[in-house]
Amino acid sequence: MIYSPFPMRVVSKREEAPGVRTLKLEFVRQEDHEFFKASYKTGMFGLYGIFGEGESTFCVASPETRKEYIECTFRQSGRVTTTLANTDAGDIVTFRGPYGNRFPIEEFEGKNLLFIAGGIALPPTRSVIWSCLDQREKYGNVTIVYGARTVADLVYKHELEEWKQRDDVNLVLTVDPGGETPDWQDHVGFVPSILEKVAPSPENTIAVLCGPPIMIKFTLNALGKLGFSESNVYTTLENRMKCGVGKCGRCNVGSVYICKEGPVFTAAEVSAMPQCDL
Amino acid sequence: MGIQVQFRKEAAELLSSGAVKLVIGYGEGSTPERRRPVFVRTPAETERLVLDGACVANLSTYLISEGLLSDGKNVAVFLKPDGIRSINILAAEAQLNPEQVVIFGFDIENGEARPLAGRKASDFTQVVEAAKAAGLSPELQKEAERLDHISAAERFEYWKEQFSKCIKCYACRQVCPMCYCRRCIVDVNQPQWINTSSHTLGNFEWNIVRAFHLAGRCVACGGCDRSCPVNIPLRLINHRMAKEVLDAFDYYAGESTDQKPVLATFRQDDPETFIL
């Protein structure tokens, strides 16, 4: 019922970057899985937890085209994430969700896609990326711009490699100045400036942007300069949550409840919110 | 010249000369009996200042507001002897520089406010010394004595009943000038020492921890007691702890700005009759 989570079994755990892990979870009960399959759409989030420690909110990092498992990627920082990070295959954790709204990917059909992500915010973007790549024929050009502080901080390295190899994906990688290794072949610089350098055309293009608030702010400026209209830019917002279902009263930005009306918003919707409340 | 007029005038002078950037005092409240803290930044605004027998709150709480004193400028504040002791403790615990605090000292006698001579915390040594004699109100004193004479099990029941009323609004903590931790121990969750839930056990633990952290630091301003929306007699506990450190270590909190905190110091011959 409302606050009762689904038990989930840890299938595997992968270290993505220092302190960042991906858990692959499977449903313990068939009926929970059916519910998830029927309701999950890319962009939604969930509350992942361990009894005795609590719950923590992050996105479902797996795409809506692959619902056998739930993947979640998180940085180990608080009490819950530390415990989650210490689980092993076979352990039972919990999942409550999926909650929130979604990326309207069927509206993206026939359009070019520009994905922009910074650091640990690749997981929500990755959910959309795979949802689209798994139905590649429906979309136009796909460009992915991804940046992190250092080379080590890039997450999903094996998938980045895969995207790099693909002819139908244009992957642009960058690390912050000083974060490069001697053998780093790709860009060095902050995402907004690299984006301006790459200068993707706004023509018939949808941009999906996820990252820390400061990166979002500057990247939106850059997208504006490139001629993207705010209604064609999608982003996700995050706030502290406890209930996930619009009752506990803490995740709102202005009058907008992120757990109910979000986490996916267009840039136009975000700029209508009181910026100081973000 | 009445104390209110005098203080208004002096506050206006301090503000207009730039000697202080802010005066924290009392103003009219929402009812005739109430006084509320006011913050005065211009000489004209000093008209809002009120000082009379109803001004009981310890305003030193506001001095530990984040960033208030970090620009090095001075702030004036209306303080009773308990508030002056708070300044001494905060200075001793390196939470503020007492040179930045200009004190409008006053005391309440027979329901009337009366000025105290001095402007710096160190000017009030005798006042603080004299306050040592102050005890609980007669009825609280009676209650304290009653508690001393009942069994431990009965005392436990008494406090259990009292603490079961607690709703963990933390008004006691927020109003207290001594509770300045950026992150209170109850808000720490790695590890979670005490229950955050407001059931009787969680309340019991919270109140014990609060009282312990105030032992030898409480100045008996009564702020916690007055703020408590569910009327827990917190003053009884604080008073008992103050008495304990006075008896055991001859320590009276807030005597001076360089008095070492009682639990951060020791004497080799401290009493230890209870240790086996």
């Binding site: - | 121990i185 059931h199 969680g202 032992a215 702890m241 304990e244 639990l263 004497r267």
Partner: protein, 149 residues
């Protein structure tokens, strides 16, 4: 038939003196009650009152806090600081109705294996007589039903 009451006692001890004393008691084959769970800490100065509260919260019937004799602290002053803290905390517990007999303090040196064994035995007996600390543990059981009006 209910089982006879076996008190649960938690001992917070410093590693240099009391823990070594407990060790000596063990290696000397002295027998002492098995009711005590020892938690070893670097110094009595490290023993926070939070530990005692946590022990009670988790169901202890008694708590022992023990370290080096005054003057013998490995860190020179830790036990002097601890002593002040205990004085105050003990008074606070007494005032809130937590019986003094349940929370005990002692100095036991590395050489006092016998004192350790005796203390544990007498403490266990004392608490056995007092019975389980139901008044406190009841708070824990109550919370499972409390507020479910």
């Amino acid at each position: 038939m209910s089982e006879p009451f076996e008190p649960k006692i938690v001992a917070f001890v410093c590693t240099y003196c009391t823990y070594a004393g407990a060790d000596l008691a063990g290696t000397s084959r002295m027998k002492y009650a098995s009711n005590v769970r020892i938690v070893r800490l670097p110094c009595t100065g490290r023993i926070s009152p939070m530990f005692i509260l946590k022990a009670l919260q988790k169901g202890a019937d008694g708590v022992l806090v023990s370290g080096c004799h005054p003057g013998d602290c490995h860190f020179a002053q830790g036990n002097y600081h601890a002593r002040r803290r205990w004085t105050v905390f003990r008074a606070l517990l007494a005032f809130t109705g937590i019986p003094e007999q349940r929370i005990r303090f002692s100095w036991i040196s590395a050489a006092e294996g016998a004192k350790f064994a005796e203390l544990i035995n007498s403490l266990t007996e004392d608490i056995r007589k007092l019975g389980p600390f139901e008044q406190y543990h009841e708070l824990q059981t109550v919370i499972e039903t409390q507020s479910t009006y």
